[in-house]
Amino acid sequence: MRTFKRPESLYDNSTHYCPGCGHGIAHRLVAQVIDELGIREKVIGVAPVGCAVVAYDYWNFDCSEAAHGRALAVATAIKRVHPENIVFTYQGDGDLAAIGTNETIHAANRGENLTVIFINNAVYGMTGGQMAPTTLLHQKTSTSLEGRNAALHGYPLKISEMLALLPGVCYIERVAFDSPQGILKAQQAVKLAFENQINNLGFSLVEILSPCPTYWGLNPKAALDWIQEVMKKEFPLGRLK
């Protein structure tokens, strides 16, 4: 019989996230992997700007905050000054794939020995559900009321596919919080991304398709189904590098 309890790297407090939000699951996965690898005293997380801006309130290990989109620049500095530490960034799509695209591409291209947890929920959550670069075509948001139109707004940005082309990148995988099985697969991917850094293999990124029930206008279960039926077609799962 298996047992399950809160990982030590996760505080026993309540999050500010909406009911059914994927951030809580992602926080737990990161904490669980850190416990499994026994690196809690060595790890330094870099929190983004976005819904997860106060992620450090939930994790029981050292964290730093970065300006919007600059998490990988801050993480690069921390890792270079403290190479013995395990440094990771936790970023949403507004942070990593919009305002922080520049930092993301250059950190990956330099092959920084970092781990990136990229939460893709296809909208800007914190500011009110506006269209993000990752918003799907025809997806309605508060700034694309008729749905995203390719002629007007361009196409969804597939940052993981772009980064997989760079020689400095060691590991890229896209996973989805569409079911308990998907969450367990995501946990394996997050663990591998941390192991790569421990083994000095270079830049690793795990993109997680994560539900935002509030701004998708769906109930939490329907949001998971939407990932399975719609989002995975635009953002296919699997190991990209």
Binding site: R2, R6, P19, C21, H23, G24, I183
Partner: protein, 67 residues
């Protein structure tokens, strides 16, 4: 049989656990917690498989499973 312990004060009533329980042992309570949210309750008489799906999918990490 596994024992499911739910921290009802942390529960936000998203009902994901309820949707994934293969035995239907989790129900939405009519009672409210201190945050005025309808939390979920586990049926202690039910035969829990210990599959962990409810705990894995819980965004608030408020479900603990013991033997």
């Amino acid at each position: 049989m596994a024992k499911v312990i739910i921290n009802v004060q942390k529960c936000k009533g998203c009902l994901l656990c309820l949707n994934f329980c293969p035995k239907g042992l989790i129900k939405k309570s009519k009672k409210l917690n201190l945050r005025s949210l309808n939390y979920v309750e586990f049926d202690p008489q039910g035969e829990c498989l210990g599959c962990l799906q409810c705990a894995v999918v819980c965004p608030e990490c408020c479900i603990e499973i013991r033997e």
